[in-house]
C-alpha cells in the first residue's frame, strides 16, 4: 500500500470507527488490569473483537478484515499469557475469536469474488473519491504555489520597475520574509575584488547583528561556504554548527537556516539566507522556491546595476559631448569638420567668419555641432550634401597641401602640425591660417577630419611689414654708407690732395723758405698724406669703390686676395659663366654677403683652405663660399640666428632675401661650412 492509499484510508470515517471500536474493546478487555481495584463488572469478552473485524471486512474488504483479526489476536495474547487464570482457556478463546475472524474474512473474500459486479460501482466510486481527494490536495498545493509565485512575481516586478540596486536589495528581505514565512532574511552581495560578502539587506535582525555578520570572507561561515561552493545549505540547528564563525549568530538565537546562492549568468553574485529562531524543517519545495527568488533578486539587481552603468556612461558621453559642443561653439579659433571628400559637416562661427560665408544662407544649419550628423552621411539623415566643400575656399595649391596632409593622416604617418595654409575667402581676399587637422575615426574607420584654424594673416602681414622695414633699413644703411664713402672719397680726399699739391708748391720754392720752416712744411705734407690714406681706408670700408668702378668680380677678387695675403688662408675665386655687371644694389648685397662669409672664415673657421665660386647664369647668379674649417651647429631658423647672436649670418640671410633670393648654410662641427646664395639677378 502506498502512501496515498494510507492517506485515503485515514481520511475515511469508517476507519476511525473501527479504530475506536478496537480501542474500546481493548480497554474493556484489559479492564481488570487497568483498574485492578474493580472492573466495574466488566469481563473480557474476546467475542466482541469480531464486531470490528467483520465491520472492517464489509467496509474495506477481506485483507483489511484479516489484518484486524490478527491485530485483535495480538491484543488478546498478553492477557491470555500473563493475566488469565486459565491460560489454555484464554488461549482457546483468543484462538477461536481469531479463527472466526479469519473465517469471516475468508467468507467475505469468497463473497467479494461473487459480488464483484455488485461492488464494482462502489469501488469505482471509492477510487473516484480517492482521486478527487488527491486532485483537491494537488490543486490546493498548486494554489499555494501560485500564491507564492504571484508574490515572488510581484516582488520581482517591483524590483524590475525600481531599477535601483539599493532599493531592490533593501526591499528584498521583507518580501522574502513574507513569501517564505520566516522571521530572519539576510541578503549578501559578493564583492569580486575584495572576495567579501557584504550584507546589503536584512530583515528581522538587530542592527548589531547586521554589523556583526557584515564583510564575510568568501569561504568564511555558512554564507561564505555557500558563496564559495554555489550549493544551497540547510542547517537544522545553527547554534551548534561548527562552521559558524561569528558569535552574534548564536547570540541572536537563530536555529534553523536555509542559505542559497544568488546566481546571475551562471555566476554566484551573493547569497540569500532565511532563518528561523525556532526549529523548522525546510522542505525541498521551499529550497527550490528560495533559489528561484534568490536568482530573481540577483537578476533584478544586476539589471538595475547594468541600467545604472549604462545611464552613467550615457551621461558621461552626453557630458563630454556637451563640453565638446561648448568648446566648439565658444572657441575663438575657427573649427570645422569635413568628411573624407571635403564636404563641410559642421563649422563654428569663427569658421564662418574666417571663410566668409553667411551662416544664414546655409540650409540645414551648418553652424553648431551635432554629434548625430557627425560623421555626416547624407543618406542616413535624409539630407542632401551640404553645398559647402573645402574646394570652395582652398586654392589649387592649398588643396594639394591639404591632400598631402590627408594622405599622411590616413596612412598614420607623422605630419608636422600646425601647418600654414592659405584660404581664399568668399570675397576673394586671402587669409593665412595655422591649421591643425585631426582624423576622426568611428570604430576604427576614418570618417572625417576636424580642422582647427587660427587666422594669422595679421601676424603674417606684420611679419611681412617688418621684413620690408628691415629691408628698407638695410638698403638705407647701404645707401647712407655709400653716400658718406663717396663724400669722403670725392670731396674730402680730393681736397686733401689739392692741399698736398699746395704744400708741394710751397716746398718747391723752398729756396725762399728758411730751412726750419721748410722742414715743418714737409711734416705737414706727410701728415696730410697720412690723413688722406686714412680717409681712403675709411671710405673703402664704407663702400669699396672697386665694386662701383670695376664690378663684382674684381671686388670679390680683392676680398679673396686680402684673405690670402693678410690672413694666410688659401682662397680661390672661380668664375663660371659669362661675367656681367649686375644692378649696383645687387652687387653690393652679394659683396656684403661674401664679405661677411670671408670675415667668418677669418675669425671663426680656423680654415686653411677656402673657395669662392661665382656662377653667372642668364637670370640667376649663384655664389658659393666654402671652407674646410671647424664648422658649427646649425640652428632651426633665422630668428634663432639672431637670438644666438649670430648677427652676421642673420644679416647675410636678410640681404639674400633683399635680393629676392635664398641663402642656405650647410655646416657641421668638424666638417667645414658651405654657404650658397642664389639670387635672381
Amino acid at each position: 500500500m502506498d502512501r496515498t492509499a494510507v492517506t485515503a484510508i485515514s481520511r475515511n470515517p469508517h476507519f476511525w470507527v473501527i479504530l475506536a471500536l478496537m480501542a474500546i474493546f481493548s480497554v474493556h478487555h484489559y479492564a481488570e488490569q487497568i483498574w485492578p481495584w474493580g472492573s466495574f463488572g466488566l469481563v473480557a469478552y474476546p467475542v466482541l473483537y469480531l464486531i470490528p473485524v467483520v465491520y472492517c471486512g464489509f467496509i474495506f474488504g477481506a485483507t483489511a478484515a484479516l489484518v484486524t483479526a490478527f491485530t485483535a489476536l495480538l491484543i488478546m495474547l498478553p492477557r491470555a499469557v500473563f493475566f488469565s487464570s486459565n491460560l489454555p482457556g484464554a488461549l482457546f478463546e483468543a484462538g477461536i475469536v481469531t479463527l472466526i475472524g479469519v473465517l469471516a474474512g475468508l467468507m467475505l473474500r469468497v463473497r467479494e469474488g461473487k459480488m464483484t459486479t455488485g461492488r464494482d460501482r462502489e469501488i469505482v466510486a471509492e477510487t473516484l473519491t480517492l482521486t478527487k481527494n488527491k486532485l483537491r490536495s494537488q490543486s490546493r498545493k498548486v494554489m499555494s504555489y501560485e500564491k507564492k509565485l504571484a508574490m515572488v512575481g510581484s516582488v520581482c516586478r517591483q524590483f524590475v520597475h525600481s531599477l535601483n540596486v539599493e532599493q531592490v536589495l533593501h526591499d528584498a528581505p521583507r518580501k522574502v520574509s513574507d513569501v517564505m514565512n520566516v522571521e530572519v532574511v539576510l541578503v549578501f552581495q559578493l564583492c569580486e575584488e575584495a572576495k567579501e560578502l557584504n550584507l546589503v539587506g536584512h530583515e528581522g535582525v538587530s542592527g548589531e547583528f547586521a554589523r556583526g555578520v557584515d564583510k564575510l570572507k568568501v569561504g568564511e561561515g555558512l554564507n561564505g561556504w555557500v558563496a564559495q561552493s554555489g550549493e544551497p545549505l540547510l542547517i537544522r540547528d545553527a547554534s551548534t554548527d561548527p562552521r559558524l564563525t561569528r558569535e552574534v549568530v548564536s547570540q541572536e538565537g537563530i536555529k534553523s537556516m536555509l542559505i542559497v546562492p544568488m546566481r546571475c549568468e551562471e555566476e554566484v553574485r551573493g547569497t540569500l539566507c532565511i532563518a528561523s529562531r525556532e526549529y523548522r524543517e525546510f522542505v525541498n519545495d521551499e529550497v527550490e522556491l528560495l533559489i528561484t527568488v534568490a536568482n530573481e533578486i540577483c537578476m533584478c539587481s544586476e539589471n538595475a546595476r547594468l541600467y545604472h552603468e549604462q545611464a552613467r556612461m550615457m551621461e558621461q558621453v552626453r557630458a563630454s559631448e556637451r563640453s565638446y559642443r561648448e568648446l566648439f561653439e565658444s572657441a575663438h579659433d575657427a573649427i570645422w569638420i569635413h568628411d573624407l571628400h571635403g564636404n563641410i559637416m559642421a563649422a563654428n562661427e569663427p569658421a564662418a567668419k574666417l571663410i566668409g560665408f553667411d551662416p544664414e544662407e546655409i540650409p540645414g544649419g551648418l553652424l553648431g555641432y551635432d554629434s548625430e550628423k557627425v560623421p555626416y552621411k547624407p543618406d542616413e539623415y535624409g539630407l542632401s550634401p551640404l553645398p559647402l566643400n573645402v574646394k570652395s575656399f582652398l586654392s589649387e595649391e592649398s588643396l594639394s597641401l591639404a591632400r598631402e596632409m590627408r594622405d599622411k593622416l590616413l596612412q598614420g604617418h607623422m605630419a608636422v602640425q600646425p601647418y600654414e595654409q592659405q584660404i581664399v575667402r568668399a570675397d576673394g581676399t586671402m587669409a593665412t591660417v595655422m591649421l591643425t587637422t585631426n582624423l576622426i575615426a568611428r570604430d576604427g574607420e576614418p570618417k572625417a577630419f576636424q580642422n582647427i584654424a587660427r587666422d594669422i594673416s595679421k601676424e603674417k602681414q606684420m611679419q611681412e611689414n617688418m621684413r620690408l622695414y628691415i629691408q628698407q633699413i638695410t638698403r638705407a644703411q647701404e645707401e647712407e654708407s655709400s653716400r658718406i664713402a663717396r663724400e669722403l672719397h670725392d670731396s674730402t680726399a680730393q681736397e686733401l690732395i689739392a692741399l698736398l699739391h699746395q704744400v708741394e708748391g710751397l716746398l718747391r720754392d723752398r729756396a725762399k723758405l728758411p730751412l726750419s720752416e721748410a722742414k715743418a712744411l714737409w711734416g705737414v705734407h706727410e701728415q696730410v698724406k697720412g690723413i688722406l690714406q686714412e680717409v681712403r681706408y675709411f671710405s673703402r670700408d664704407l663702400r669699396p669703390s672697386i665694386l662701383d668702378d670695376l664690378g663684382l668680380r674684381a671686388a670679390l677678387e680683392w676680398l679673396v686676395e686680402q684673405l690670402e695675403t693678410e690672413h694666410k688662408v688659401e682662397c680661390h675665386l672661380i668664375v663660371v659663366g659669362q661675367e656681367r655687371r649686375l644692378a649696383s644694389e645687387a652687387e653690393v648685397m652679394i659683396f656684403r654677403i661674401v664679405q661677411e662669409a670671408i670675415r667668418n672664415i677669418r675669425k671663426h673657421s680656423q680654415a686653411s683652405k677656402s673657395e669662392v665660386t661665382v656662377k653667372f647664369e642668364r637670370e640667376e647668379t649663384t655664389i658659393t663660399v666654402k671652407d674646410n674649417g671647424v664648422g658649427f651647429q646649425l640652428l632651426e631658423s633665422v630668428g634663432d640666428l639672431t637670438r644666438a647672436g649670430k648677427l652676421g649670418l642673420a644679416g647675410m640671410q636678410e640681404r639674400a632675401q633683399l635680393l629676392g633670393g635664398s641663402l642656405s648654410i650647410q655646416s657641421e662641427p668638424g666638417r667645414g661650412t658651405t654657404i650658397v646664395v642664389k639670387a635672381p639677378v
Binding site: 670725392d490 690732395i497 708741394e504 668702378d549 670695376l550
Partner: protein, 214 residues
C-alpha cells in the same frame, strides 16, 4: 688733357702743369662723358684721367676713347693700387697709372715718360699684372716678324723687361731717339698708345713670354 670731376683738385693740378714749358693743358673734363667728347675733339697727346667720375667712370671712358683713338695715350689716376685696378685699367687700354697723391713733379715725370713710350709701372707690379695677359698656349714666334722688323722686336723685348729707353739704346747700341722712333713704329703697327699696351698685345699674341719679361 685732364679729366677730373673735383674742381679744386683739377685746378690745382692744371696750375702746376701749366707751369711746365713743354706741357700745355688743352682741355679739362669734369666727367667721363665730357672726357670722351673732348678726347674726340682735341685728340690730345696724353690724357690724364681720374677713375672715379660721375656719368662714366675713367675705365669705361678710356675703353671708349681707345675704341676710336687706338693711339691715344691715357694715364690713369687712382686712389688705390690694387691689382684689380691696374689690370682693369690696362685692359681698358691705359698706358699706365699714378696714385692720386703723387707729388706734382712725379705726375709731370709720369706724363713725360708715357709720352716717350716708357713705362710708368713699377716693374714688380707690371710683371704681376702682365701675368694676367699671358697667352695660355705655348710660345708662338711666327707672324711676329711679318708685322715687326727684327730691330723693332729687339726693342720690344727689351722694353718688356722694363728697361728705360736710355738703357735699351745702350744695350742695342742705338741712340735714344732711334729707340723712341722704333717704339713709335711698334705702337703704330699694334695700334696702341703706350709701351705697356704693346707688351700686352705681344703677350696676347704669344710673341713674348713671361720669361722675356725678366
Amino acid at each position: 688733357m685732364f679729366a677730373e670731376d673735383h674742381l679744386v683738385l683739377r685746378q690745382s693740378v692744371c696750375a702746376f702743369l701749366q707751369r711746365e714749358k713743354d706741357l700745355v693743358v688743352v682741355g679739362e673734363a669734369g666727367d667721363g662723358e665730357e672726357a670722351v667728347r673732348l678726347a674726340r675733339e682735341l685728340n690730345p697727346d696724353v690724357i690724364i684721367m681720374d677713375i672715379s667720375m660721375p656719368k662714366l667712370n675713367g675705365i669705361e671712358a678710356t675703353r671708349q676713347i681707345k675704341a676710336f683713338q687706338p693711339l691715344a695715350t691715357i694715364l690713369m689716376l687712382t686712389a688705390y693700387d690694387y691689382d684689380q685696378y691696374v689690370s682693369a685699367l690696362l685692359e681698358a687700354g691705359a698706358a699706365g697709372y699714378l696714385l692720386k697723391d703723387v707729388s706734382a713733379s712725379q705726375l709731370i715725370d709720369g706724363i713725360r715718360a708715357v709720352h716717350r713710350g716708357e713705362s710708368v709701372l713699377h716693374p714688380v707690379i707690371a710683371r704681376k699684372v702682365l701675368e694676367r695677359f699671358k697667352r695660355s698656349e705655348g710660345y708662338v714666334q711666327e707672324g711676329a716678324l711679318s708685322l715687326l722688323t727684327q730691330r723693332e722686336m729687339d726693342v720690344l723685348t727689351k722694353a718688356a723687361k722694363g728697361l728705360s729707353n736710355k738703357d735699351i739704346a745702350q744695350e742695342l747700341f742705338l741712340s735714344v731717339h732711334t729707340v723712341e722712333s722704333h717704339l713709335q713704329g711698334i705702337f703704330n703697327k699694334f695700334g696702341v698708345g703706350s709701351r705697356i699696351e704693346a707688351v700686352i698685345q705681344a703677350l696676347k699674341k704669344g710673341w713674348l713670354t713671361l720669361d722675356d719679361l725678366s
